[in-house]
Protein backbone atom coordinates (compact mmCIF):
# COMPACT_ATOMS: atom_id res chain seq x y z
CA UNK A 1 0.00 0.00 0.00
CA UNK A 2 1.40 3.31 -1.11
CA UNK A 3 1.89 6.18 1.36
CA UNK A 4 0.86 9.59 0.07
CA UNK A 5 1.63 12.77 1.97
CA UNK A 6 0.31 16.21 1.12
CA UNK A 7 1.76 19.33 2.70
CA UNK A 8 -0.98 21.93 2.78
CA UNK A 9 -4.75 21.70 2.95
CA UNK A 10 -6.07 24.15 0.39
CA UNK A 11 -7.79 23.57 -2.91
CA UNK A 12 -4.66 22.14 -4.58
CA UNK A 13 -4.54 19.55 -1.78
CA UNK A 14 -8.23 18.71 -2.29
CA UNK A 15 -7.54 18.26 -6.01
CA UNK A 16 -4.60 16.04 -5.14
CA UNK A 17 -6.71 13.83 -2.86
CA UNK A 18 -9.36 13.46 -5.55
CA UNK A 19 -6.68 12.80 -8.16
CA UNK A 20 -5.06 10.08 -6.08
CA UNK A 21 -8.38 8.38 -5.38
CA UNK A 22 -9.36 8.42 -9.06
CA UNK A 23 -6.50 5.95 -9.54
CA UNK A 24 -5.71 4.33 -6.20
CA UNK A 25 -8.52 3.50 -3.76
CA UNK A 26 -6.16 1.88 -1.28
CA UNK A 27 -3.08 3.91 -0.39
CA UNK A 28 -2.92 5.98 2.79
CA UNK A 29 -3.18 9.76 2.47
CA UNK A 30 -1.88 12.10 5.17
CA UNK A 31 -2.55 15.83 4.91
CA UNK A 32 -0.49 18.34 6.90
CA UNK A 33 -2.75 21.33 7.59
CA UNK A 34 -1.26 24.43 9.19
CA UNK A 35 -4.70 25.99 9.42
CA UNK A 36 -7.22 24.50 11.84
CA UNK A 37 -9.94 24.38 9.19
CA UNK A 38 -10.96 21.74 6.66
CA UNK A 39 -10.40 22.89 3.07
CA UNK A 40 -12.35 26.07 2.44
CA UNK A 41 -12.90 28.46 -0.41
CA UNK A 42 -10.21 31.03 0.23
CA UNK A 43 -11.48 33.64 -2.24
CA UNK A 44 -14.80 33.63 -0.42
CA UNK A 45 -13.45 35.49 2.60
CA UNK A 46 -14.56 38.80 1.10
CA UNK A 47 -18.03 37.36 0.49
CA UNK A 48 -18.06 36.36 4.13
CA UNK A 49 -17.47 39.98 5.17
CA UNK A 50 -20.20 40.98 2.76
CA UNK A 51 -22.45 38.39 4.43
CA UNK A 52 -23.09 36.63 1.12
CA UNK A 53 -21.82 33.40 2.63
CA UNK A 54 -20.95 32.02 6.05
CA UNK A 55 -18.32 29.74 7.54
CA UNK A 56 -20.44 26.65 6.97
CA UNK A 57 -21.10 27.32 3.31
CA UNK A 58 -17.47 28.27 2.72
CA UNK A 59 -16.41 24.63 3.03
CA UNK A 60 -15.03 23.54 -0.32
CA UNK A 61 -16.21 19.99 0.11
CA UNK A 62 -18.76 18.10 2.18
CA UNK A 63 -18.07 17.47 5.86
CA UNK A 64 -17.36 13.80 5.13
CA UNK A 65 -14.78 14.63 2.42
CA UNK A 66 -11.67 13.36 4.19
CA UNK A 67 -13.40 10.29 5.58
CA UNK A 68 -14.95 9.50 2.19
CA UNK A 69 -11.51 9.70 0.60
CA UNK A 70 -9.69 7.87 3.35
CA UNK A 71 -7.46 10.84 4.14
CA UNK A 72 -6.11 11.68 7.56
CA UNK A 73 -5.59 15.38 8.33
CA UNK A 74 -3.08 16.58 10.91
CA UNK A 75 -4.50 19.97 11.87
CA UNK A 76 -2.32 22.71 13.31
CA UNK A 77 0.86 21.03 12.09
CA UNK A 78 3.44 22.34 9.66
CA UNK A 79 6.15 20.48 7.80
CA UNK A 80 9.56 21.90 8.51
CA UNK A 81 11.79 19.72 6.39
CA UNK A 82 11.78 17.24 3.54
CA UNK A 83 14.47 14.61 3.34
CA UNK A 84 14.32 13.58 -0.30
CA UNK A 85 16.91 10.81 0.16
CA UNK A 86 15.17 8.94 2.96
CA UNK A 87 11.73 10.01 1.71
CA UNK A 88 10.60 11.45 5.01
CA UNK A 89 9.21 14.76 6.13
CA UNK A 90 9.71 16.27 9.55
CA UNK A 91 6.93 18.14 11.35
CA UNK A 92 7.13 21.13 13.69
CA UNK A 93 6.53 18.82 16.67
CA UNK A 94 9.54 16.69 15.68
CA UNK A 95 7.56 13.77 14.26
CA UNK A 96 8.73 12.17 11.03
CA UNK A 97 6.42 10.86 8.36
CA UNK A 98 7.53 8.56 5.57
CA UNK A 99 6.14 8.95 2.06
CA UNK A 100 6.23 7.13 -1.23
CA UNK A 101 4.89 10.16 -3.07
CA UNK A 102 4.71 13.70 -1.69
CA UNK A 103 2.83 16.74 -2.94
CA UNK A 104 3.69 20.24 -1.74
CA UNK A 105 0.61 22.45 -1.76
CA UNK A 106 2.16 25.06 0.49
CA UNK A 107 0.40 28.05 -1.04
CA UNK A 108 1.58 31.61 -0.71
CA UNK A 109 2.00 34.16 2.06
CA UNK A 110 1.32 37.87 2.18
CA UNK A 111 4.32 39.92 1.20
CA UNK A 112 4.81 43.03 3.33
CA UNK A 113 7.54 45.37 2.11
CA UNK A 114 9.44 47.24 4.80
CA UNK A 115 7.54 50.41 5.69
CA UNK A 116 8.69 52.82 8.30
CA UNK A 117 6.68 52.84 11.51
CA UNK A 118 4.53 49.84 10.59
CA UNK A 119 5.18 48.43 14.05
CA UNK A 120 3.44 51.46 15.59
CA UNK A 121 0.13 50.44 13.96
CA UNK A 122 -2.04 48.37 16.31
CA UNK A 123 -4.90 47.40 14.03
CA UNK A 124 -3.19 45.88 11.03
CA UNK A 125 -4.28 42.80 9.12
CA UNK A 126 -3.52 40.58 6.17
CA UNK A 127 -6.41 39.27 4.12
CA UNK A 128 -5.60 35.71 3.12
CA UNK A 129 -7.23 33.31 5.54
CA UNK A 130 -10.41 32.73 7.54
CA UNK A 131 -8.51 33.63 10.68
CA UNK A 132 -7.34 36.94 9.14
CA UNK A 133 -10.94 37.62 8.17
CA UNK A 134 -12.42 36.87 11.59
CA UNK A 135 -9.79 39.09 13.22
CA UNK A 136 -10.52 41.91 10.77
CA UNK A 137 -14.25 41.51 11.35
CA UNK A 138 -13.68 41.91 15.09
CA UNK A 139 -11.68 45.08 14.57
CA UNK A 140 -14.08 47.06 12.38
CA UNK A 141 -17.04 49.11 13.50
CA UNK A 142 -19.49 51.27 11.53
CA UNK A 143 -17.25 54.19 12.43
CA UNK A 144 -14.00 52.64 11.18
CA UNK A 145 -11.87 54.40 8.61
CA UNK A 146 -10.06 51.66 6.72
CA UNK A 147 -6.83 52.07 4.78
CA UNK A 148 -5.98 49.23 2.40
CA UNK A 149 -2.48 49.05 0.97
CA UNK A 150 -2.81 47.33 -2.40
CA UNK A 151 -5.39 47.83 -5.17
CA UNK A 152 -5.03 44.31 -6.55
CA UNK A 153 -7.54 41.47 -6.42
CA UNK A 154 -7.14 40.87 -2.69
CA UNK A 155 -7.18 44.53 -1.63
CA UNK A 156 -10.20 45.43 -3.73
CA UNK A 157 -12.23 42.37 -2.75
CA UNK A 158 -11.48 43.27 0.85
CA UNK A 159 -12.72 46.81 0.15
CA UNK A 160 -15.95 45.48 -1.31
CA UNK A 161 -16.42 43.08 1.60
CA UNK A 162 -15.95 45.79 4.23
CA UNK A 163 -17.84 48.49 2.36
CA UNK A 164 -21.19 48.28 4.14
CA UNK A 165 -19.63 47.66 7.56
CA UNK A 166 -17.35 50.68 7.92
CA UNK A 167 -17.38 54.45 7.56
CA UNK A 168 -14.80 54.91 4.83
CA UNK A 169 -12.32 52.95 2.75
CA UNK A 170 -9.19 54.34 1.11
CA UNK A 171 -7.11 52.12 -1.14
CA UNK A 172 -3.53 53.00 -1.95
CA UNK A 173 -1.27 51.39 -4.55
CA UNK A 174 2.12 52.08 -6.06
CA UNK A 175 0.70 51.22 -9.49
CA UNK A 176 -1.06 54.08 -11.26
CA UNK A 177 -4.19 51.95 -11.80
CA UNK A 178 -6.37 49.41 -10.03
CA UNK A 179 -6.00 45.65 -10.71
CA UNK A 180 -2.73 46.39 -12.47
CA UNK A 181 -1.85 42.71 -12.83
CA UNK A 182 -4.90 41.91 -14.96
CA UNK A 183 -6.23 45.16 -16.50
CA UNK A 184 -4.70 47.77 -18.80
CA UNK A 185 -5.13 51.51 -18.28
CA UNK A 186 -8.45 51.91 -20.05
CA UNK A 187 -10.14 48.89 -18.45
CA UNK A 188 -8.74 49.80 -15.04
CA UNK A 189 -10.07 53.34 -15.38
CA UNK A 190 -13.60 52.06 -16.00
CA UNK A 191 -13.39 49.72 -13.02
CA UNK A 192 -11.95 52.45 -10.79
CA UNK A 193 -14.75 54.82 -11.73
CA UNK A 194 -17.29 52.17 -10.75
CA UNK A 195 -15.55 51.55 -7.43
CA UNK A 196 -15.40 55.28 -6.71
CA UNK A 197 -19.10 55.61 -7.49
CA UNK A 198 -19.64 53.03 -4.76
CA UNK A 199 -17.69 55.03 -2.22
CA UNK A 200 -14.18 53.61 -2.38
CA UNK A 201 -11.45 56.30 -2.40
CA UNK A 202 -8.12 55.82 -4.12
CA UNK A 203 -4.60 57.12 -3.76
CA UNK A 204 -2.72 55.64 -6.71
CA UNK A 205 0.79 55.92 -8.08
CA UNK A 206 2.36 56.24 -4.67
CA UNK A 207 3.24 54.07 -1.72
CA UNK A 208 3.11 54.44 2.03
CA UNK A 209 6.22 56.17 3.28
CA UNK A 210 5.60 56.21 6.97
CA UNK A 211 3.12 55.16 9.63
CA UNK A 212 2.68 56.66 13.04
CA UNK A 213 -0.06 54.99 15.05
CA UNK A 214 -3.21 55.66 13.05
CA UNK A 215 -1.66 58.14 10.67
CA UNK A 216 -0.06 57.36 7.31
CA UNK A 217 2.01 59.57 5.05
CA UNK A 218 2.41 58.61 1.40
CA UNK A 219 5.50 59.17 -0.71
CA UNK A 220 3.66 61.92 -2.58
CA UNK A 221 2.84 63.74 0.64
CA UNK A 222 -0.80 62.69 0.97
CA UNK A 223 -1.78 62.04 4.58
CA UNK A 224 -4.42 59.55 5.71
CA UNK A 225 -5.91 59.00 9.15
CA UNK A 226 -7.25 55.51 9.68
CA UNK A 227 -8.50 53.11 12.34
CA UNK A 228 -7.81 49.83 10.58
CA UNK A 229 -5.00 48.99 8.18
CA UNK A 230 -5.15 46.10 5.70
CA UNK A 231 -1.92 45.02 4.01
CA UNK A 232 -2.65 43.51 0.61
CA UNK A 233 0.47 44.43 -1.33
CA UNK A 234 1.01 41.00 -2.80
CA UNK A 235 1.84 37.41 -2.11
CA UNK A 236 4.96 35.29 -2.33
CA UNK A 237 4.99 31.59 -3.11
CA UNK A 238 5.95 29.41 -0.15
CA UNK A 239 8.91 27.61 -1.68
CA UNK A 240 11.38 27.25 1.18
CA UNK A 241 10.71 23.64 2.08
CA UNK A 242 11.41 22.42 -1.47
CA UNK A 243 14.36 24.75 -1.93
CA UNK A 244 15.93 23.52 1.31
CA UNK A 245 15.47 19.95 0.15
CA UNK A 246 17.50 20.74 -2.95
CA UNK A 247 14.62 21.20 -5.41
CA UNK A 248 14.55 23.71 -8.25
CA UNK A 249 12.93 26.95 -7.17
CA UNK A 250 12.68 30.35 -8.81
CA UNK A 251 9.84 32.66 -7.88
CA UNK A 252 7.78 29.54 -7.37
CA UNK A 253 8.56 25.84 -7.10
CA UNK A 254 9.45 24.71 -10.63
CA UNK A 255 7.08 22.00 -11.88
CA UNK A 256 6.54 20.33 -15.23
CA UNK A 257 3.22 19.53 -16.94
CA UNK A 258 2.86 16.45 -14.73
CA UNK A 259 3.36 18.71 -11.65
CA UNK A 260 6.64 16.98 -10.79
CA UNK A 261 9.32 19.02 -9.05
CA UNK A 262 12.99 18.39 -9.82
CA UNK A 263 13.10 15.92 -6.91
CA UNK A 264 12.09 12.29 -7.34
CA UNK A 265 8.57 11.44 -6.12
CA UNK A 266 7.97 15.02 -4.99
CA UNK A 267 5.20 16.95 -6.70
CA UNK A 268 3.90 20.46 -6.16
CA UNK A 269 0.66 22.22 -7.01
CA UNK A 270 -1.10 25.52 -6.51
CA UNK A 271 0.03 28.99 -5.53
CA UNK A 272 3.50 27.79 -4.46
CA UNK A 273 4.44 26.80 -8.02
CA UNK A 274 5.49 28.46 -11.25
CA UNK A 275 4.51 26.85 -14.51
CA UNK A 276 4.04 27.31 -18.20
CA UNK A 277 1.49 29.84 -19.49
CA UNK A 278 0.71 28.72 -23.03
CA UNK A 279 -0.82 32.07 -24.00
CA UNK A 280 2.49 33.91 -23.61
CA UNK A 281 4.83 30.89 -23.77
CA UNK A 282 6.43 31.99 -20.52
CA UNK A 283 6.81 30.45 -17.09
CA UNK A 284 5.17 32.34 -14.26
CA UNK A 285 3.53 32.11 -10.88
CA UNK A 286 -0.21 32.05 -11.58
CA UNK A 287 -1.80 31.98 -8.17
CA UNK A 288 -5.29 31.09 -9.35
CA UNK A 289 -7.75 28.77 -7.69
CA UNK A 290 -8.98 26.89 -10.79
CA UNK A 291 -5.40 26.20 -11.84
CA UNK A 292 -4.54 25.12 -8.30
CA UNK A 293 -7.26 22.49 -8.39
CA UNK A 294 -6.25 21.26 -11.83
CA UNK A 295 -2.59 21.05 -10.84
CA UNK A 296 -3.44 19.25 -7.62
CA UNK A 297 -5.60 16.74 -9.47
CA UNK A 298 -2.89 16.20 -12.08
CA UNK A 299 -0.28 15.65 -9.37
CA UNK A 300 -2.54 13.22 -7.55
CA UNK A 301 -3.18 11.08 -10.63
CA UNK A 302 0.54 10.90 -11.40
CA UNK A 303 1.50 10.19 -7.77
CA UNK A 304 -0.83 7.20 -7.86
CA UNK A 305 0.71 5.82 -11.02
CA UNK A 306 -1.79 7.20 -13.51
CA UNK A 307 -1.00 9.55 -16.33
CA UNK A 308 -2.18 13.13 -16.38
CA UNK A 309 -0.85 16.43 -17.68
CA UNK A 310 -1.88 20.01 -17.05
CA UNK A 311 -0.43 21.36 -20.25
CA UNK A 312 -2.81 24.14 -21.21
CA UNK A 313 -2.58 26.51 -18.28
CA UNK A 314 -3.38 30.18 -18.81
CA UNK A 315 -3.93 33.03 -16.42
CA UNK A 316 -7.64 33.83 -16.07
CA UNK A 317 -9.70 35.88 -13.68
CA UNK A 318 -13.36 36.43 -13.13
CA UNK A 319 -13.85 39.23 -10.68
CA UNK A 320 -16.61 41.68 -9.95
CA UNK A 321 -17.27 44.55 -7.59
CA UNK A 322 -20.65 45.94 -6.61
CA UNK A 323 -22.35 44.11 -9.48
CA UNK A 324 -19.89 45.12 -12.19
CA UNK A 325 -17.82 42.25 -13.54
CA UNK A 326 -14.71 41.72 -15.54
CA UNK A 327 -13.36 38.63 -17.23
CA UNK A 328 -9.75 38.43 -18.29
CA UNK A 329 -7.70 35.57 -19.67
CA UNK A 330 -4.42 34.93 -21.43
CA UNK A 331 -1.92 37.61 -22.18
CA UNK A 332 -1.01 40.47 -24.51
CA UNK A 333 2.30 39.41 -26.04
CA UNK A 334 4.42 42.04 -27.73
CA UNK A 335 3.30 42.74 -31.24
CA UNK A 336 -0.25 41.47 -30.70
CA UNK A 337 -3.14 43.21 -32.40
CA UNK A 338 -6.11 44.44 -30.44
CA UNK A 339 -9.74 44.33 -31.47
CA UNK A 340 -11.87 46.62 -29.35
CA UNK A 341 -15.54 47.35 -28.90
CA UNK A 342 -16.58 49.74 -26.19
CA UNK A 343 -19.27 52.03 -24.89
CA UNK A 344 -19.87 53.85 -21.65
CA UNK A 345 -20.57 50.70 -19.62
CA UNK A 346 -18.64 47.94 -21.28
CA UNK A 347 -15.32 47.14 -22.88
CA UNK A 348 -14.43 44.14 -25.01
CA UNK A 349 -10.75 43.90 -25.89
CA UNK A 350 -9.47 40.86 -27.76
CA UNK A 351 -5.74 40.33 -28.35
CA UNK A 352 -4.58 38.41 -31.39
CA UNK A 353 -1.17 37.26 -32.52
CA UNK A 354 0.01 34.74 -35.13
CA UNK A 355 -3.54 33.69 -36.04
CA UNK A 356 -4.42 32.96 -32.42
CA UNK A 357 -6.44 34.62 -29.71
CA UNK A 358 -3.88 35.19 -26.96
CA UNK A 359 -6.01 37.05 -24.46
CA UNK A 360 -8.99 39.25 -23.68
CA UNK A 361 -10.35 41.78 -21.22
CA UNK A 362 -14.10 42.07 -20.92
CA UNK A 363 -15.85 44.51 -18.64
CA UNK A 364 -19.54 44.90 -17.97
CA UNK A 365 -21.04 42.12 -20.09
CA UNK A 366 -20.20 38.51 -19.24
CA UNK A 367 -22.06 36.19 -21.57
CA UNK A 368 -20.63 32.87 -22.80
CA UNK A 369 -17.10 34.18 -22.31
CA UNK A 370 -15.75 30.64 -21.98
CA UNK A 371 -15.97 30.24 -25.75
CA UNK A 372 -13.20 32.86 -25.98
CA UNK A 373 -11.26 31.22 -23.15
CA UNK A 374 -11.37 27.90 -25.01
CA UNK A 375 -9.95 29.56 -28.13
CA UNK A 376 -6.93 30.62 -26.07
CA UNK A 377 -6.62 27.33 -24.22
CA UNK A 378 -6.93 25.22 -27.38
CA UNK A 379 -4.74 27.60 -29.40
CA UNK A 380 -7.33 27.41 -32.15
CA UNK A 381 -6.13 28.94 -35.44
CA UNK A 382 -8.44 31.90 -36.02
CA UNK A 383 -8.35 31.22 -39.75
CA UNK A 384 -10.24 27.99 -38.99
CA UNK A 385 -13.18 29.83 -37.35
CA UNK A 386 -15.38 32.78 -38.25
CA UNK A 387 -13.54 35.31 -36.12
CA UNK A 388 -15.53 38.23 -37.52
CA UNK A 389 -18.63 36.71 -35.88
CA UNK A 390 -16.80 35.82 -32.71
CA UNK A 391 -15.68 39.41 -32.30
CA UNK A 392 -19.32 40.44 -32.11
CA UNK A 393 -20.37 37.68 -29.72
CA UNK A 394 -18.95 34.39 -28.44
CA UNK A 395 -20.93 31.63 -30.17
CA UNK A 396 -20.49 28.05 -31.29
CA UNK A 397 -21.98 29.05 -34.65
CA UNK A 398 -18.65 30.59 -35.55
CA UNK A 399 -16.62 27.50 -34.70
CA UNK A 400 -17.35 25.43 -37.79
CA UNK A 401 -19.69 22.50 -38.41
CA UNK A 402 -17.32 19.74 -37.37
CA UNK A 403 -16.74 21.26 -33.94
CA UNK A 404 -20.43 21.92 -33.47
CA UNK A 405 -21.33 18.35 -34.37
CA UNK A 406 -18.75 17.00 -31.97
CA UNK A 407 -20.08 19.11 -29.13
CA UNK A 408 -23.83 18.88 -29.67
CA UNK A 409 -24.26 15.46 -31.24
CA UNK A 410 -21.86 13.56 -29.03
CA UNK A 411 -20.44 13.39 -25.53
CA UNK A 412 -17.56 15.73 -24.77
Amino acid sequence: MKKYVIIGNGVAAAGCIEGIRSVDPEGSITVISAEQHPVYCRPLISYYLEQKTDLQRMHYRAESFYADHGAEVLYGRTATEINADTKQIVLDNGDSIAYDALCCCTGSSPFVPPMQGLDTVDNKFSFMTIDDTLALEQAVTPESRVLIIGAGLIGLKCAEGLHSRVKSITVCDLAPRVLSSILDDKCAAMMQKHLEKNGIDFILGTSAKEFCGSHAVMQNGTEVDFDVLVLAVGVRANTAIVKNAGGNVNRGIVVDDACRTSLADIYAAGDCTEYHDISSDTVKVMALMPNAYMQGHTAGVNMAGGEAAFDNAIPMNSIGFFGFHCHTAGSQPEGCEMYEETDENHIRRLFVKDDKLTGFMLLGHMHRTGIYTALIRNQTPLSSVDFARLKIEPQLAAMGNAYRDKVLKGAV
Partner: protein, 147 residues
Protein backbone atom coordinates in the same frame (compact mmCIF):
# COMPACT_ATOMS: atom_id res chain seq x y z
CA UNK B 1 -26.17 7.80 -19.50
CA UNK B 2 -29.02 9.83 -20.96
CA UNK B 3 -27.93 13.09 -22.51
CA UNK B 4 -29.46 15.92 -24.45
CA UNK B 5 -28.58 15.81 -28.14
CA UNK B 6 -29.48 18.27 -30.83
CA UNK B 7 -30.82 17.49 -34.30
CA UNK B 8 -30.21 20.78 -36.02
CA UNK B 9 -31.84 19.59 -39.23
CA UNK B 10 -35.16 19.63 -37.36
CA UNK B 11 -34.71 22.91 -35.48
CA UNK B 12 -37.13 25.64 -36.53
CA UNK B 13 -35.38 28.38 -34.59
CA UNK B 14 -38.64 29.09 -32.75
CA UNK B 15 -36.89 29.64 -29.36
CA UNK B 16 -39.69 27.75 -27.57
CA UNK B 17 -37.06 25.70 -25.73
CA UNK B 18 -35.76 28.89 -24.16
CA UNK B 19 -39.23 29.84 -22.92
CA UNK B 20 -39.99 26.32 -21.70
CA UNK B 21 -36.68 26.29 -19.85
CA UNK B 22 -37.32 29.63 -18.19
CA UNK B 23 -40.83 28.54 -17.21
CA UNK B 24 -39.77 25.12 -15.92
CA UNK B 25 -37.22 26.77 -13.65
CA UNK B 26 -39.42 29.67 -12.54
CA UNK B 27 -41.08 27.64 -9.80
CA UNK B 28 -44.47 28.93 -11.01
CA UNK B 29 -47.43 27.00 -12.37
CA UNK B 30 -48.75 29.52 -14.89
CA UNK B 31 -46.53 30.15 -17.89
CA UNK B 32 -48.07 33.51 -18.68
CA UNK B 33 -47.62 34.79 -15.13
CA UNK B 34 -44.12 33.38 -15.02
CA UNK B 35 -42.87 34.96 -18.22
CA UNK B 36 -45.07 37.84 -19.34
CA UNK B 37 -43.20 41.12 -19.55
CA UNK B 38 -40.03 39.59 -18.11
CA UNK B 39 -36.55 39.26 -19.53
CA UNK B 40 -35.84 35.55 -19.54
CA UNK B 41 -32.50 33.95 -18.70
CA UNK B 42 -32.87 30.45 -20.13
CA UNK B 43 -30.29 27.74 -19.56
CA UNK B 44 -30.53 26.77 -23.21
CA UNK B 45 -29.61 29.15 -26.02
CA UNK B 46 -30.68 29.02 -29.65
CA UNK B 47 -27.93 29.96 -32.07
CA UNK B 48 -28.01 30.58 -35.79
CA UNK B 49 -25.10 30.02 -38.13
CA UNK B 50 -24.19 31.92 -41.28
CA UNK B 51 -26.39 29.64 -43.39
CA UNK B 52 -29.43 30.30 -41.25
CA UNK B 53 -29.25 26.88 -39.58
CA UNK B 54 -30.44 27.01 -35.98
CA UNK B 55 -29.89 24.72 -33.01
CA UNK B 56 -30.02 24.86 -29.24
CA UNK B 57 -27.00 24.79 -26.92
CA UNK B 58 -27.19 23.68 -23.30
CA UNK B 59 -24.83 22.08 -20.78
CA UNK B 60 -23.07 19.03 -22.22
CA UNK B 61 -22.49 17.51 -18.76
CA UNK B 62 -18.88 17.01 -19.81
CA UNK B 63 -16.90 13.90 -18.97
CA UNK B 64 -14.15 16.11 -17.51
CA UNK B 65 -16.00 19.27 -16.53
CA UNK B 66 -13.77 22.32 -16.27
CA UNK B 67 -16.57 24.33 -14.60
CA UNK B 68 -16.56 21.92 -11.63
CA UNK B 69 -12.79 22.03 -11.38
CA UNK B 70 -12.81 25.83 -11.56
CA UNK B 71 -15.62 26.68 -9.15
CA UNK B 72 -14.14 28.79 -6.37
CA UNK B 73 -17.11 28.20 -4.08
CA UNK B 74 -17.34 24.42 -4.30
CA UNK B 75 -20.85 24.97 -5.63
CA UNK B 76 -20.58 22.91 -8.79
CA UNK B 77 -20.35 19.14 -8.63
CA UNK B 78 -21.03 16.12 -10.78
CA UNK B 79 -23.34 13.44 -9.42
CA UNK B 80 -24.40 10.42 -11.45
CA UNK B 81 -23.30 12.15 -14.61
CA UNK B 82 -25.23 15.36 -13.98
CA UNK B 83 -23.43 18.62 -13.27
CA UNK B 84 -25.34 20.39 -10.55
CA UNK B 85 -25.06 23.79 -8.98
CA UNK B 86 -25.69 24.31 -5.28
CA UNK B 87 -27.31 27.73 -5.30
CA UNK B 88 -26.85 28.13 -1.56
CA UNK B 89 -23.09 28.08 -2.10
CA UNK B 90 -22.73 30.07 -5.34
CA UNK B 91 -21.57 33.63 -4.69
CA UNK B 92 -21.81 34.81 -8.28
CA UNK B 93 -18.12 35.08 -9.12
CA UNK B 94 -18.93 33.80 -12.65
CA UNK B 95 -15.70 31.85 -13.02
CA UNK B 96 -17.81 29.04 -14.53
CA UNK B 97 -19.03 31.45 -17.23
CA UNK B 98 -15.38 32.30 -17.91
CA UNK B 99 -14.33 28.68 -18.37
CA UNK B 100 -17.25 26.80 -19.97
CA UNK B 101 -15.97 26.13 -23.52
CA UNK B 102 -19.53 25.93 -24.87
CA UNK B 103 -21.01 29.02 -23.27
CA UNK B 104 -23.51 26.85 -21.42
CA UNK B 105 -23.28 28.38 -17.95
CA UNK B 106 -25.31 31.54 -17.85
CA UNK B 107 -25.71 34.39 -15.39
CA UNK B 108 -29.29 34.24 -14.09
CA UNK B 109 -30.14 37.94 -14.14
CA UNK B 110 -29.63 38.34 -10.40
CA UNK B 111 -25.86 37.97 -10.47
CA UNK B 112 -25.36 34.26 -9.83
CA UNK B 113 -24.69 31.36 -12.18
CA UNK B 114 -27.19 28.84 -13.49
CA UNK B 115 -27.02 25.95 -15.88
CA UNK B 116 -29.05 23.06 -17.27
CA UNK B 117 -29.61 20.38 -14.64
CA UNK B 118 -31.78 18.27 -16.95
CA UNK B 119 -34.89 19.49 -15.08
CA UNK B 120 -34.03 17.11 -12.24
CA UNK B 121 -34.48 19.74 -9.55
CA UNK B 122 -37.71 21.30 -10.77
CA UNK B 123 -41.18 19.83 -11.09
CA UNK B 124 -40.84 18.98 -14.75
CA UNK B 125 -39.66 15.40 -14.37
CA UNK B 126 -37.91 15.42 -17.75
CA UNK B 127 -36.10 18.16 -19.66
CA UNK B 128 -38.70 20.80 -20.55
CA UNK B 129 -36.83 21.84 -23.68
CA UNK B 130 -37.14 18.30 -25.05
CA UNK B 131 -40.78 17.81 -24.04
CA UNK B 132 -41.79 21.14 -25.53
CA UNK B 133 -39.84 21.08 -28.78
CA UNK B 134 -42.51 21.05 -31.52
CA UNK B 135 -40.31 19.34 -34.08
CA UNK B 136 -38.25 16.84 -32.12
CA UNK B 137 -35.03 18.79 -32.62
CA UNK B 138 -33.82 18.24 -29.07
CA UNK B 139 -33.76 14.69 -27.77
CA UNK B 140 -32.90 13.15 -24.41
CA UNK B 141 -31.60 9.65 -24.89
CA UNK B 142 -28.95 7.12 -23.98
CA UNK B 143 -26.53 6.59 -26.82
CA UNK B 144 -24.24 4.44 -24.72
CA UNK B 145 -21.73 7.20 -24.12
CA UNK B 146 -19.79 7.35 -20.88
CA UNK B 147 -20.70 9.75 -18.07
Amino acid sequence: MKRIYVKEEWCLGCHLCEYNCAFANSGMTDMVKALRGKTIYPRIQVEQDENGITYAVSCRHCKDPICVKSCIAGALSKKDGVIEIDHSKCVGCLTCVLVCPYGAVIEDGSGVAQKCELCMKNNCGAPACVKGCPNGAIVYEDRGEAE
